[in-house]
Amino acid sequence: MKKIWWKILAVVLLAGVIIAGLLGPVPELPILNETIRNVYFHVPMWFAMLFLYLISVVYSIKYLNTGKTEYDVMAVEAVNTGVIFCFMGLATGMLWANITWGDPWPNDPKLNSSAISTLMYLAYLVLRNALEEEQKRAKISAVYNIFAFPIMIVLLYILPRLTDSLHPGNGGNSTFGSIDMNNQLRPIFYASVIGWVLIGSWICSLRYRLRLLENKNNQID
């Protein structure tokens, strides 16, 4: 985790995404016009969030298996970082929706379920602060986290696909990937997803290491 090459890779990838994403060719579409470039920046926020929540769930399971406090710390910090990316995704999505859908918050199933899942993860963080005893807190919040993750997946990626949604790839027949995503967009989009996932993991690992240092310092005193 402490190796530097993947951090440099993340920075280089995202610098390339910023240049190619703003200057490169994009498909010409009505209503969207140049805002199609938001695909490179808005969608990867959600991928980074999803990846961080996944890390969190894995470490929650690991915690329940072993009872090591480091795993609990990793689970919290992953959610802390994931929530930041979630809010970035919501904010950029609202800006984009205001221009293309005419309303920052049209009652789209994907938007409403993303709001519910955001509240669910905020509840996780509040729950942790409400419990004083450390072991109890770690155990209860790990169990909560394991339940919250599949509900988040259902809310964000399954329910909107069953109904009509303004988001591409949702509602109707969503199995034709070539209709939802142009091949011109793909390479830059994937580079951006990998870049933001790496940046998210980096920030998460920094917070984790800082929290471990704080814990150690508190024990010495």
């Binding site: 951090k7 920075v11 910023i18 703003l22 010409e28 016009n33 920094l206 800082l210």
Partner: protein
């Protein structure tokens, strides 16, 4: 012959123009004027600044961790 050549050239030019015209308006003018590069540079500067900040933070935490271990 010269007239024919000119006519061909004209036809080619009009062809190009009709192909270049598309129904959907993109900000091609913005990019061709060159000013979009300024925006790209501004975003790059902000992003690289943040990246350097993150690298610095990483180094400081690593230093603290090393100090902890030697204690």
């Amino acid at each position: 012959m010269k007239k024919f050549f000119l006519a061909c050239l004209f036809a080619w030019a009009t062809c190009l123009q009709t192909f270049a015209q598309s129904d959907i308006e993109m900000a091609t003018g913005l990019r061709s004027s060159g000013k979009i590069y300024v925006v790209v540079l501004v975003i790059l500067v902000i992003f690289i600044g943040l990246a350097i900040f993150l690298f610095g933070l990483d180094r400081r935490i690593t230093k603290l961790e090393k100090n902890q271990d030697t204690k």
